[in-house]
């Protein structure tokens, strides 16, 4: 029957789209679980290092590392962690909006900004915006490796050490649960000292080689691990956001199919009625 050919085609194409979005939803769900596992797996490392650092800080209260000294802020650095791919709802745009708001505040005070972008999306966005991007890392995939991040983190830390920037932040999406991801800004350096009174003690480590070297290495690793954690968390957020976005896309496709089906049925019914009345009136005429 020639009736509703266009509608039938449309239904078919919407159904195909729905199949794709449903598949993406399921893929995102399983990837999200893996990303969450990685998130929890990376936590012990950062915790251990934090313990060692606070031990150290208490054993040597007189010794202040550069990374622990607060300075007057004349220029700031941001590490912005975003996803590599789109189709994940408003995840990246929410993040960028909060970053842009922060950056605007800094520039109102006349403070310059250096950016390090992680992920294709932020690289594209901030270079279009004309910000000063000094380092970037893209194509980290679903399981970011710490090796891929070390380079860009080092660029930022070197800037801090040479006094080009006085404060370094990391921006990423914090994973609250599947439905909620919160754009978060954390300060990396100068490291805020914890006031843990329980840790007061009267012993000190033996250092091999020197305390200063060991501390530098520790702090660098600590910061790297924080950035790593941020990017792993962001991957979990990306997958969660994609899962939700694809779920609503599948639901919308379902609604659309229902509407189209109704329109198609109506058209078919109308065609049959018309044909019938034509036959009846034809017969009556004979």
């Amino acid at each position: 029957m020639a009736v509703g050919k266009e509608i039938r085609n449309q239904i078919k194409s919407v159904k195909n789209t729905q199949k794709i979005t449903r598949a993406m939803e399921m893929v995102a769900a399983s990837k999200m679980r893996k990303a969450q596992d990685r998130m929890t797996a990376s936590r012990p490392y950062a915790e251990k290092i934090r313990n060692v650092i606070s031990h150290l800080a208490h054993a040597h209260p007189e010794y202040q590392h550069t990374y622990m000294q607060a300075r007057d802020v004349k220029r700031v650095g941001y590490i912005i962690v975003s996803s590599d791919r789109g189709l994940c709802g408003g995840l990246n745009s929410n993040l960028f909006r909060s970053v842009v708001r922060e950056l605007a505040q800094w520039s109102k005070k006349g403070i310059g900004i250096d950016l390090c972008t992680i992920g294709t999306k932020s690289t594209g966005y901030f270079s279009r915006l004309g910000s000063k991007v000094v380092a970037n890392a893209t194509q980290l995939g679903d399981a970011p490796q710490i090796e891929d991040l070390i380079g860009s983190v080092k660029v930022m830390l070197d800037l801090f050490e040479s006094g080009d920037i006085d404060c370094l932040y990391v921006v990423y999406n914090k994973f609250v649960n599947t439905m909620t991801q919160v754009p978060t800004v954390d300060q990396l350096v100068p490291i805020e000292k914890s006031d843990d009174k329980e840790l007061e003690h009267h012993w000190d480590y033996i250092y091999e080689p020197e305390a200063k070297d060991v501390l530098t290495e520790l702090l660098t690793r600590y910061i790297e691990s924080l950035v790593y954690q941020a990017s792993v968390e962001n991957v979990a957020c990306e997958q969660a956001a994609r899962m939700v976005a694809m779920k609503s896309a599948s639901d919308n496709a379902g609604g659309m199919i229902d509407d189209l089906q109704l329109a198609y049925n109506k058209a078919r019914q109308a065609a049959i009625t018309q044909e019938l009345s034509e036959i009846v009136s034809g017969a009556a005429a004979v």
Partner: protein, 142 residues
């Protein structure tokens, strides 16, 4: 006096090992160290190599680490590994290959940066091969 200590081996990406041990050997920068319970607090860098743990029930566990930090407290030891994986996961062929690649890069070095990077790579590969060989030998005996 406690005769065991808690050993934690963690890398940035995962927790590798946690358990109680009688002794731990690690390749510190100033030379190989053996740590027993009640050791005085020590903080040191470690080189690429093998970390050996003798567990409570006299089992030996091996881990390959490509550098990192070692924190020793009287109650336990924490290894903050750069990348640590279970030693038997390493394939000797891959390590040899990495070594060859590094050696090749070392042979036609263009500038100092490449040279330094290659040297590190070579040291890591040699340590990996060494660790695997040792483990194989022990497994062969036992």
């Amino acid at each position: 006096m406690a005769s065991t200590m808690i050993v934690d081996i963690v890398s940035a990406e995962a927790q590798i090992y946690q358990g109680t041990a009688k002794m731990l050997f690690a390749p510190a920068v100033m030379g190989e160290v053996g740590i027993m319970p009640q050791h005085t607090p020590l903080l040191t860098k470690i080189k690429p190599g093998e970390v050996r743990v003798i567990t409570e029930d006299d089992q030996e566990e091996y881990f390959y680490v490509s550098g990192g930090m070692l924190e020793v407290l009287p109650s336990g030891v924490t290894v903050l590994a750069d990348t640590a994986q279970r030693a038997h996961d390493l394939s000797e062929a891959a390590a040899e290959e990495a070594k060859e690649r590094a050696e090749k890069a070392l042979a036609d070095h263009k500038d100092d940066v490449d040279y330094a990077a290659a040297e590190v790579q070579l040291a890591e590969a040699v340590a990996q091969v060494e660790a695997i060989r040792k483990i194989k030998k022990r497994l062969g005996k036992g």
